[in-house]
């Protein structure tokens, strides 16, 4: 069983890495989005491996089913084809800066995970939705409410932007 888990882990890692490479490197925006979708599906698979079914399904429902579809909508409105400005490869300096950004964040996170591992169980334990809900409204209530504030602010911002555009016409 443990070997199967390792093989599956490798498989999902390949999907995530491959998808994100396509997402970053593809010339066409739509292909980049398909890469992003593959990455998100891979992450959902990782959740499955952690026995967090609810998280995995929510990942697919929200990120793949809603967020990516909205990104697609935005791409459609821009009518960006493969010959557009963004199709040219970025200058070397920009690539190097991007690489440093990735390595610094990834390095810090990786270092933290490797040196200060959390106490974990050998096999993943499934958390029922009841416990998830109780946790979100109980001990993690503050974080949960703060997230809703963030969402509210961004929603208000979107309404405000649309409103100004309409009045300015």
């Amino acid at each position: 069983m443990e070997n199967i888990a390792k093989i599956v882990f490798g498989f999902y890692t390949l999907i995530i890495l491959g998808g994100s490479l396509v997402a970053v490197g593809a010339k066409s925006l739509v292909r980049a989005m398909v890469g992003l979708i593959a990455t998100l599906m891979g992450v959902a698979g990782m959740y499955m491996l952690l026995n967090a079914q609810f998280m995995a399904l929510m990942q697919i429902l929200i990120y793949v089913g809603a967020v990516c579809v909205l990104i697609f909508f935005a791409i459609m409105l821009t009518r960006a084809d493969a010959g557009g400005e963004e199709a040219d490869s970025a200058p070397l300096r920009q690539n190097l800066l991007a690489l440093t950004a990735v390595l610094s964040v990834g390095g810090i996170l990786g270092w933290l995970v490797l040196t200060r591992p959390l106490a974990t169980t050998g096999t993943p334990v499934e958390v029922s939705i009841e416990n998830l809900g109780l946790g979100l409204l109980g001990p993690y209530g503050l974080a949960f409410e703060l997230i809703s504030v963030v969402l509210l602010v961004s929603m208000a911002g979107a309404v405000l932007l649309a409103w100004e555009r309409r009045n300015g016409k």
Partner: protein, 326 residues
């Protein structure tokens, strides 16, 4: 040599059964649809091949399989062929958690409804990719309509499903069915009639069925997002549409109409009967109502379905809590 785990065997048998039945359902549904359409429009429908034209869909299917696959100039080859596959693949998964009878379920997961809702979202993606990759204005317009429609109608659908799972206290389809009784007045439709109505309307919207078939509106967009697909490329979209109808109707049966419960006849028979009745209803709706305009489509959703669904959910939550205290 270890024995194959029973769960894996269950899924395998389920997949084979699903793959076989999807094709059969497609053939039967095409015939039913054409017959009903014919009679509603005062013509006989197909009647030459086989008894009452029952073998006509088989001939059509063979013709589709035999046709050459074309790809338009300037289309994105990978995305163009990915789209029909992406439309069809999730369908196989969607059938697995459906409880056809007591214990007759390919994949017994405690988040069955969520699984279906999550993976049915991939259907929108295939509409988008197909419309975009065809390099065709009609296709693109159809895809753009598809996004706006799917994003809008998914919300009331989710909310109405949530209301039922509040009452049942579970997201497991089999569990929801077990909470209902034999007779129609023991079914969830009696306690959640509004949710049922919202579910059916938004399910029509989600499956792109008339009167909400704007992404493929023949009279305006030739065939919308699948204009450029020939042969089985089109065939897969077609099969996926009917399979999605079956899934939507099965979920409605399990959530609202008591699933496999019913007097005298065995459970699976009742399940199939109820699903068939709902499918027939969808076919009748398609040939009865004219296609809505796009602004009407959005008004129905954002001004009626969504507020009603939210109000219904709040009321349901209130009464569920009240029942806990009482």
């Amino acid at each position: 040599m270890n024995a194959i785990p029973a769960e894996l065997l269950n899924i395998l048998i389920g997949l084979v059964a699903v793959a076989a039945s999807v094709g059969l359902i497609g053939l039967v549904m095409v015939w039913v649809e054409r017959k009903v359409a014919g009679h509603i429009q005062r013509r006989p429908g197909p009647y030459e091949v086989g008894p009452s034209g029952a073998l006509q869909p088989l001939c059509d299917a063979l013709k589709l399989v035999g046709k050459q696959l074309f790809m338009p100039l300037g289309a994105d080859p990978i995305l163009f062929w990915l789209a029909p596959v992406l439309a069809f693949l999730p369908v196989l998964l969607l059938f697995l958690p459906l409880p056809v009878g007591d214990g007759l379920q390919a994949l017994d997961v405690n988040l069955g409804v969520l699984l279906i809702l999550a993976f049915s979202g991939l259907a929108v993606l295939s509409v988008l990719l197909a419309g975009w990759a065809s390099n065709n204005k009609y296709g693109l317009l159809g895809a753009a309509r598809g996004v706006a429609q799917a994003v809008a109608y998914e919300i009331p659908l989710l909310l109405s499903v949530l209301a039922v799972s509040f009452v049942a206290g579970s997201l497991d389809l089999a569990q929801v069915v077990k909470g209902q009784g034999t007779w129609p007045w023991n079914w969830n439709i009696m306690t959640q009639p509004l949710a049922f109505l919202i579910y059916i309307v938004s399910a029509l919207g989600e499956t792109n069925r008339a009167p909400f078939d704007l992404p493929e509106a023949e009279s305006e967009l030739t065939a919308g997002f699948h204009t450029e697909y020939s042969g089985m490329g089109f065939g897969l979209f077609f099969l996926a549409e009917y399979a999605n109808m079956v899934v939507v109707c099965s979920v409605a049966t399990a959530l609202f109409l008591g699933g496999w419960h019913g007097p005298v006849l065995p459970g699976p028979v009742w399940f199939v009967l109820k699903v068939s009745a709902l499918m027939l209803l969808m076919v009748f709706v398609r040939w009865t109502y004219p296609r809505v305009r796009f602004d009407q489509l959005l008004v129905i959703n954002w001004k009626w379905l969504l507020p009603l669904a939210v109000a219904n959910l709040l009321l349901t939550a209130f009464f569920v809590k009240l029942a806990q205290f009482a």
